[in-house]
């Protein structure tokens, strides 16, 4: 069987805000196997983003164990974490986090700037390819300020794909897209997943969750549900079922 790529045990994250302490994660445990497509759901403020940041090695847990690909993240130094983020993880932020006044192509290239393995020419090629994959082949030189929210979100998605990650962590990656666009993105994710990339996808929408193989539900910093999905829908098929765009007009 496929091995476990993520193992977390009793993960806690507290935020100390002056006299108060916010317990964002109160002890979360689960495992994700290589090649899984997991969605994380839960109401606003339940701790989804906080959890995903920890999984993405952007933040550290207050306590608990996090093993990524057999490595105990706690033991890794900052530079090792940076290398992991650079080479293994594709992260899509809820708030996009694009560089202002910087073209789409340069935003997408960003992770490769910090990689020793890719030449400038290849970097550009891969950025264009990634943007074409998310349907922005005609917006290469637009800056975030000149693009819609959904287009910015797709740049963020393209950026997460550029380093050919083994795991993609997406925080509401379709939150700003209409049904057709989000299904297209889900079809892309399903295709990447078929190629063996592990995907953890945070979402509010149940129909998005139905494209994944498992759904974990959080509430108040705890896991309240962790179920395999018996009926995985194909985003490609659902896309075909949607009424034609002309018909919507």
């Amino acid at each position: 069987m496929s091995r476990e790529i993520i193992t977390i045990v009793d993960l806690k994250r507290d935020f100390i805000m002056g006299p108060e302490t916010v317990h964002a994660l109160k002890g979360i445990s689960f495992t994700v196997k290589e090649g899984e497509f997991v969605t994380i759901m839960g109401s606003s403020g339940s701790g989804k983003s906080v959890l995903l940041h920890i999984l993405g090695c952007l933040d550290r847990p207050t306590s608990g164990i996090y093993e990524l690909d057999g490595l105990n993240v706690k033991d890794l130094c900052k530079d090792e974490l940076a290398t992991i983020r650079n080479e293994k993880i594709g992260f899509i932020f809820q708030s996009y986090n694009l560089l202002a006044r910087t073209s789409a192509i340069e935003n997408v290239e960003l992770p490769l700037l910090y990689s020793n393995k890719v030449s400038s020419a290849e970097q550009r090629e891969r950025a264009i390819e990634a943007l074409e994959r998310v349907g922005l082949g005609n917006r290469l030189h637009h800056t975030p300020g000149q693009l819609s929210g959904g287009q910015q979100q797709r740049i963020a998605i393209a950026r997460s794909l550029i380093n050919n990650p083994v795991i993609i962590l997406a925080d509401e990656a379709t939150g700003n897209l209409d049904t057709r666009n989000s299904y297209e993105i889900m079809a892309l994710f399903q295709k990447l997943n078929k190629q063996g990339i592990t995907i953890i996808f945070v979402t509010h929408e149940p129909d998005i969750a139905s494209f994944s193989s498992r759904t974990i539900v959080l509430r108040d910093g705890l896991v309240i549900q962790n179920d395999k999905n018996s009926n995985i829908l194909s985003a490609e098929d659902e896309l075909a079922k949607l009424p034609k765009q002309d018909a919507m007009l």
Binding site: A82, T102, P111, S115
Partner: protein, 406 residues
Amino acid sequence: MKLLKLFKIAFKAVILNKLRTLLTMLGIIIGVASVIAMLAIGEGSKESIRASITSMGSNMISIQPGADVRGGVRRSRTEMQSLTLKDYEAIKEKASLLSYVTPSVDGGGQVINGSNNWPSTIYGVNPDYLSIRVWDLQSGSMFTDADVKSAGKVAVIGKTIVDNVFLEGIDPVGQMIRFNNIPFKVIGVLEEKGENTSGLDQDDVVIAPYTTVQKRILAIDYLREIIASAVSEDEAQNAVTEVSGILRVQHKLAENEDDDFHVRSMDELISTSSSTSEMLTILLVAVASISLLIGGIGIMNIMYVSVKERTKEIGLRMAVGGKGSDILMQFLIEAILISITGGLLGVILGLGSTVFIEKFLHWPTSVSLYSIVISFAVCAVTGIFFGWYPARKASALDPITALRYE
């Protein structure tokens, strides 16, 4: 390759924020330029004061007849006859701290050449005179000891005389002039000196052997003055003491009698004027330091704010795999680019305004290498440090903390 990439990122950031870059640079440019210009003015005036003192002969010692008594009845110097050639000979023979000595007599009169005439002063001296005054000849030669011995009717004249009694284009050397109707052959022309610090035209002189002036023009046998130069500026004061001693013996003055002569070195003048120029320089250095400090604070401020403002960007760069060292390197390159470019522009502006001050305000200036080095270094170091330090702080944060920074 990574360094090249980082350089590109840094260069882009500099280009992308033109206004910010310009403002930062402006602080550096003005800081560097003002220090260079200030110090150039300070150094320039110091040098010009020093030069004008040296041009008067900084080692010069003057011996005049008459006691230096204030309040008592003093006869005018010209009436006194207590300074004689014997005194001169005694000084010349016995004084060990003097390098040159000359007797001096002077008198006013008309310089005439053809139909031109000009009122001037004739100085009767020996050939040492030029060395004492540190004057040079522009053409011709100085008269010799033989001319002095024979009371030769030869003269060396200043530029003002040349301009006023000779037609343009005529070489005065070899020509005849008359001073108070006594004919002199012009054998040399003095280099132009301009006015001295008290506004006296130093080129309005006729110099001839003192014997000639004594006998043929003034008809006297005493001296108006003995002028000497000490072996060095440091020895000037000792030379004054030595000469006084010699003259007291020469004049057979008893223990309780006051001097009947007055020996002065240029010391007083030198000390006052050099302290003035010292003070001016200190003042200018103070002003320059303040402007450099203000420039430095401006650089700190803008660098600090601009890095703070980009904490989110730093967070993102780290989130996609930038290491702390990459981020630091990027900001360091950026700071170096801005600081060095600003510093160079500052040097150019500083040198330019110095030239402007010299050309259009006619202030003496002198650019010193150390002012360039110091101001450039201070600005570059401040710029680099304050570009680097906040970036270092930001890059020590967890990426998500930096990303959340508002």
